[in-house]
Symmetry: C2
Subunit: 238 residues, 2 copies
Amino acid sequence: MPVPSQRYVRNHLLSILSPDDYEAIQSVAEGVALGRRDILIAANKSITHVYFLESGIGSEVAATPEGRRIEVCITGPEGIVGVPLLLDVDRTPHETFVQIEGDAVRVEATAFRRLIEERRLLRGIFAHYAYVAHLQTAGTALSNGSHTLEERLARWLLMCHDRVDGDEFPVTHEFLSTMLGVRRPGVTTAIHSLEGAGMIKARRSHVQVLDRDKLKAAAGDSYGVPETEYRRLLWARR
Amino acid sequence: MPVPSQRYVRNHLLSILSPDDYEAIQSVAEGVALGRRDILIAANKSITHVYFLESGIGSEVAATPEGRRIEVCITGPEGIVGVPLLLDVDRTPHETFVQIEGDAVRVEATAFRRLIEERRLLRGIFAHYAYVAHLQTAGTALSNGSHTLEERLARWLLMCHDRVDGDEFPVTHEFLSTMLGVRRPGVTTAIHSLEGAGMIKARRSHVQVLDRDKLKAAAGDSYGVPETEYRRLLWARR
DNA sequence: TTTCAACCGTACGATAGCGTACATTTCGGA
DNA sequence: TCCGAAATGTACGCTATCGTACGGTTGAAA
């Protein structure tokens, strides 16, 4: 698959690069389609590529040796999958997989390392994203520790909504329950509650956001901190 | 206060730098004493310095506009306080304060930026630490979402124990309750439970670790992932 | 030496979420 | 068109933790 010209690239980080930096990336990048559950970064294996999502969503999951899993960060077309490589780290105990299918521009690890080493501005922009990802993970820690399931669910739906086209996206209760680290029936009732308040519409394997403002209210202060910082650091940069 | 020679420096990151890199840092650094509750990085204000702790512990706290607070990461002499600066970010919504008093070597922000820009190896080592800090925050998210209070408390005590000299350190139940995002009486009973099992000894405003192995068992899989990665990435480097 | 604020112990009803089980609905493929 | 697996709805007793309140203890400062 071809890599789009910068004019048409949908990944926000790529779109704000200098034309020169973009060309440098383009010359070593390739386009790929991402299917649901594809593993982009496998746990404890060498990281082969970084991915700039053009559409779809990737999920980073923290795991313990005993097999406990929970989502700590999600990335869509606003970011980059493969933050460890940015930090000169070749592999990670976490796994990142495709939560919602889409397309991506990807760069092989060695080429990527060379690029960020040689290009200061490129490195700076990606570093900013790495920091926002840290804020998001910290926000997840905050939420997991002190918000109700309903608030956390609302936060999660908002974060997905930010990253997809349109108001609807595929997701099952079962999937949500492992991402949030709660029971599946707990998700079912929480979804009913949001649905009853007219914020969303749930159909088998899908959720549609009906009233984003109400959903924000339901999320309370669990939503917004990393989003604000993203805007401050990564909007309208060049 | 003077900055020690590399031979005697206690901060692990500084100790593994090349002599040349250390000298470069030393020439722009100063020694400071850190008192309990001193704020090293204030929320939403320009970051003035990075701190290499020589002793003591710093706490990074995520906060929302509404005032909700919870600890997401702690740093002792194994790390660096001021990760945002590493990532080219000048300020952050989080606050970092001194949890246990001690000493530090600190470097003014502008000088630090110049150093990491010019020195590739320095940048690499610090980037590795930034990644371990991300793992720790992710571990906090995992724990907050899926471990019991007793497991989380055990994890927290182990992480402190790793960073102080000796087996005893100052901490109040009240403080722990805000760090863990739980009720203060909840901490009291959890501490009693660990104490009853002979893992720790609690005195007014202090905790002493008696049996680290048992404490590890009590923490279950909440403890260990970032610690293992720290060893892989940052032990015996030069 | 006294005082008082900080710290700690404990209790009790309330509740969010758990673990589990099982029935029902939906949809894609044979 | 039918079947089976996946997804969803619901129920029930259980447990961890909450919110709150209050009394006891300790140690540093006056």
